[in-house]
């Protein structure tokens, strides 16, 4: 790791001022991705502003039945919060299926959203990568791409967004609150994550020194009946090949409301709007789930190595909807979120 200067901020505005006035400064929160990438010379700030003492750790319900999560709340604390487990089981589940217990104790919610991709070409500072060095090329397109994206890709980047909880938050129309040199801002989660297009180095709209202060989840009645299904090569401590965050309201056998997002298959947490549109008002029968999954994945552009993800995603979508519609998917008591072979049910 290159030499680095350090300072610790105790006021949010001071932290923002410290980073925004110096292009070579970055925030340091949990450090679980950042310290790793510093050591590998993928990130090269001259100075770190430690924000762990900022008063941004709260997890609380809001009057509208929603949730307000401080940016520095740790993944483990959010997953354990009773209000999250009762009202938003898909969030608790997505958090607990991410990383390991040690990492969840360290990693902050804001940092989770900003974590960098796990693409091995990005993480190898010797390799070309359009995210690290715009214009240098993307070896993943013709290279090792088994874990890469099939949706939202461009010729310049096919890396998947690695977060689990961001998928659940995207399904629930969450918002990201920030404080930057130009004041406070709010972004919808869907606008917060950018498609790579021809600028894959821009992953979010934050300006330098703009700090995530919190995440807001609106009150969403179907969220009580929700799940996070994660399919991966091994059963624990692994990134998703495919994941599905889904919440469902059924009235008299008809889908009254549905929220769904996908992880592991796209360059950003992928809101499955096509599937949602197909499903609203539809009967809760397998044929409709299969059709919704097919509609959502119709634009997939796989490589030969990750072509399996298209069918895997469709099967995971069907399984998630099956589980929720037969009444076994509510809450955290189900094991529907685990299992490496869970994509093979249909």
């Amino acid at each position: 790791m290159r030499p680095i200067a350090y300072l610790r901020a105790t006021h949010t505005a001071a932290a923002v001022a410290a980073v925004s006035t110096d292009p070579t400064s970055d925030f340091l929160a949990g450090g679980t991705t950042e310290v790793d990438l510093l050591r590998q010379n993928v990130l090269n700030p001259r100075r770190l502003v430690d924000i762990n003492d900022l008063p941004l750790t709260g997890v609380e319900s809001t009057p509208d039945g929603g949730l307000r999560i401080g940016a520095l709340a740790r993944m483990s604390d959010v997953a354990a919060a009773p209000v999250v487990r009762e009202r938003f089981p898909l969030i608790a589940r997505a958090l607990e299926l991410g990383a390991s217990a040690q990492l969840r104790n360290m990693a902050s919610m804001g940092g989770n959203l900003l974590q960098r991709v796990r693409c091995s070409y990005f993480r190898d500072a010797e390799s070309a990568c359009n995210k690290r060095e715009p214009g240098s090329g993307c070896p993943a397109v013709e290279g090792f791409s088994r874990g890469h994206a099939v949706l939202g890709t461009s010729e310049h980047c096919i890396a998947t967004h690695p977060s689990d909880v961001a998928v659940a938050l995207t399904a629930l129309d969450s918002r990201v609150r920030t404080l930057g040199p130009n004041g406070e801002r709010t972004y919808s989660m869907d606008d917060f994550f950018l498609l790579p297009g021809d600028s894959p180095h821009r992953e979010h709209p934050l300006e330098h020194g703009e700090l995530i202060t919190g995440i807001e989840v609106p009150g969403t009645p179907p969220a009580r009946h929700s799940l996070y299904l994660k399919v991966r090569d091994r059963e624990s401590y692994e990134f998703a090949l495919v994941s599905v965050a889904a919440a469902l309201s059924v009235v008299d056998g008809t889908i009254a409301d549905v929220r769904m997002a996908l992880g592991g298959v796209a360059t950003k947490p992928w809101r499955a709007r096509r599937a949602e549109d197909f499903l609203i008002g539809a009967a809760t029968v397998r044929d409709n789930f299969v059709m919704a999954a097919r509609v959502e994945m119709a634009d997939a552009r796989p490589t030969p190595m990750n072509a399996f993800k298209v069918e895997l995603a469709q099967r995971a979508i069907v399984r998630a909807l099956d589980t929720l519609s037969d009444g076994t998917g509510s809450g955290l008591g189900t094991d529907a979120g685990t299992g490496a072979g869970s994509g093979s049910s249909s």
């Binding site: 290159r2 300072l7 679980t32 050591r39 502003v49 762990n52 040690q102 401590y237």
Partner: protein, 174 residues
């Protein structure tokens, strides 16, 4: 303000910039205060092992993947390799050396011996720090739960069945 100078707060107070050369860092490890001069880029793991001769926490991957460096910060298990030592000022760090009391091994350490829960032993200190924390967290309900919540600690020898037996033994005693 210079782009490279100390940062001003809105009240005009200056945040103290330390480093990149060696800075004085005060660490509380296993209840003992230590003062050492290290660069801010030094990990907690390297500070423990290279400067304080606390070599219980092991350096496996140094990338946050293996769990061999698991210690507690303020009672929660974390990875020392992904923690910068300077960020631990004001926190209480506990390493495997801090588990034994008055020369008596912690019951989890005794259970690891009794259940033959290690082969090469390199991952053992991290396994033990996670195993003790696991029971405190209330995540040792059954074998499936133990597996899931111990999954951040990798054992290349795959002594997992015996590690689980040690966790069960301590769980059932408490």
């Amino acid at each position: 303000m210079s782009a490279r100078g100390p940062a001003l707060t809105e009240r005009g107070a200056v945040l103290e910039e330390r480093g990149p050369g060696p800075v004085r860092v005060r660490l509380s490890i296993n209840g003992t205060e230590h003062t050492l001069d290290i660069e801010p880029r030094v990990s907690l793991l390297d500070a423990l092992r290279e400067r304080l001769d606390l070599t219980g926490a092991k350096k496996g991957c140094d990338q946050g993947a293996c769990g061999a460096c698991t210690v507690w910060a303020d009672g929660r298990r974390v990875l020392a390799c992904l923690t910068l030592a300077v960020t631990c000022e004001g926190r209480e760090v506990t390493t495997v050396e801090g588990l034994a009391e008055e020369g008596e091994l912690h019951e989890m350490q005794r259970a690891f011996i009794a259940e033959d829960a290690f082969q090469c032993g390199f991952c053992t200190p991290g396994q033990i720090m996670s195993a003790v924390a696991l029971i405190g967290e209330g995540h040792a309900g059954d074998d499936a739960e133990i597996k899931e919540w111990m999954s951040g600690n990798i054992c290349r020898c795959a002594a997992y069945p015996n590690i689980r037996a040690a966790v069960r033994a301590v769980r059932d005693r408490t």
